[in-house]
């Protein structure tokens, strides 16, 4: 018996065999019969099909993982650019602070603290929003009886916040070094 389920352009057929039938031979016959069809078939045992589907799912999750890292990288570069621009805009302020006696190391800490706090609060807000969406959205991907549900957890939240903090520190290092090592005279001349 063939049951065709049309999902977009993907067609899946399920062939129920009688007891004692040679599954591999039947699969080969089906593929041979449908070879002249518009799309050739690839018939396998159900277990092999499920294993292949799960493997695809694992690959998909792996890809999503890398996509996540790419997003973190993108956010890192955005935060770094924003912090650098913000510091560039206020180079004169940092020069004024150093003129009145603030140590260069303290301006370095100021810039680092600003970048870290911005990322921390942004991370907390973003993580809270994402976890809430996950909690109420009930998102999951599944195929052939295997379902992977995206569930929020304390660890996921903690991981996100720690990542935000790390992004803040890393993004803040170049502008912080810039303010700590700049010439005060040049800083005072900047607009």
């Amino acid at each position: 018996m063939f049951v065709f389920c049309i999902v977009g352009s993907v067609q899946e057929g399920l062939n129920r065999l009688t007891t004692g039938a040679d599954a591999d031979r039947v699969a080969a016959e089906i593929d041979a019969a449908l070879r002249s069809n518009s799309v050739a078939t690839k018939t396998r045992r159900k277990g092999a099909f499920q294993a292949s589907t799960l493997s695809d799912l694992v690959d998909l999750i792996g890809f999503a993982h890398w996509l996540g890292f790419a997003c973190v990288g993108l956010v890192l570069s955005l935060v770094a650019t924003t912090t650098i621009m913000s510091v560039q805009d206020r180079m004169k302020e940092y020069a004024v602070l150093q003129t009145i006696g603030v140590r260069p190391l303290r301006t370095l800490r100021l810039v680092l603290a600003e970048s870290t706090l911005l990322c921390f609060f942004g991370g907390v807000l973003g993580s809270a929003l994402a976890l809430t969406l996950l909690h109420f959205g009930g998102y999951a991907i599944g195929a052939e009886g295997a379902t992977i549900a995206f569930r929020p957890s304390i660890w996921l939240g903690a991981y996100s916040i720690v990542t935000s903090l790390a992004v803040g520190v890393i993004a803040g290092i170049p502008p912080a070094l810039q303010t700590a090592t700049m010439s005060i005279v040049d800083g005072l001349r900047s607009n």
Partner: protein, 232 residues
């Protein structure tokens, strides 16, 4: 003993293929309570001299002693500490921190000193009172006029009771009337609080408020008769 003592100070830098020497073997002495104005054409080293006395620029050779302390070889961190305790800087464009109130801007230098909260409050109030802005203490820079901002800048420069106050064209960005107010404030601070001042200006009238006037040209101080020749 001089409060400010410069000996054989030379400063030069490269601009393209050219070596510019804004200060060439300069000597300078400023006594306690003196009000010195520094004039000269643009690019002759007035601001460079001011920056060197302030410890925000380095020299190639010579010595700088402020109140007996040699500062030209101090590290950046130590120079910052020295500035916090000994220097008041009045900028041409006040350079207040826009997110801080007038009170907080004036309080900034005192946060770098070992003072109690009540000592800090007292000093800030005295400084704001001295520039006549106690009633504007909680205003942000954007809520103040140009003259008021400059007076807050002056209060910030004197609040730490510095050894010397330097002023880089303090009236340069003000209208005539406000400029006169700031000038009389500077005179009063010098006379009443005995603050030693070094002021750079382009304006002969502003320079005339000082007790001693110096003229810098091509890296050297000119004698009074040479200045007269130039003026003629």
């Amino acid at each position: 003993m001089s409060i400010v003592e410069l000996r054989g100070v030379t400063k030069s830098f490269r601009k393209g293929d050219e070596t510019i020497t804004p200060l060439d073997n300069v000597d300078l002495d400023i006594q306690q309570g003196e009000f010195v104005s520094l004039m000269g054409p643009s690019g002759t080293g007035k601001s460079t001299l001011l920056n060197i006395v302030s410890g925000i620029d380095r020299i190639e050779s010579g010595t700088i002693r402020i109140n007996g302390q040699q500062i030209e070889k101090l590290s950046r961190g130590k120079l910052a500490d020295w500035r916090a305790a000994n220097l008041g800087y009045i900028f041409q464009t006040h350079n207040l921190i826009p997110v801080l109130t007038a009170y907080e801007n004036v309080e900034l230098p005192t946060l770098l000193l070992k003072l109690t909260a009540s000592e800090r409050r007292s000093r800030v109030e005295v400084a704001l009172e001295a520039v006549g802005l106690m009633d504007r203490a909680n205003h942000y820079p954007r809520q103040l006029s140009g003259g008021q901002e400059q007076r807050v800048g002056i209060a910030r420069a004197i609040v730490a009771h510095p050894t010397v106050v330097v002023a880089d064209e303090p009236t340069g960005s003000l209208d005539a009337e406000t400029s006169l107010q700031v000038q009389s404030l500077l005179i009063r601070l010098n006379q009443e609080l005995n603050i030693t001042m070094l002021m750079v200006t382009h304006d002969k009238q502003v320079a005339s408020i000082a007790t001693r006037r110096l003229y810098l040209d091509r890296g050297k101080f000119l004698e009074a008769n040479e200045v007269e020749v130039l003026r003629d």
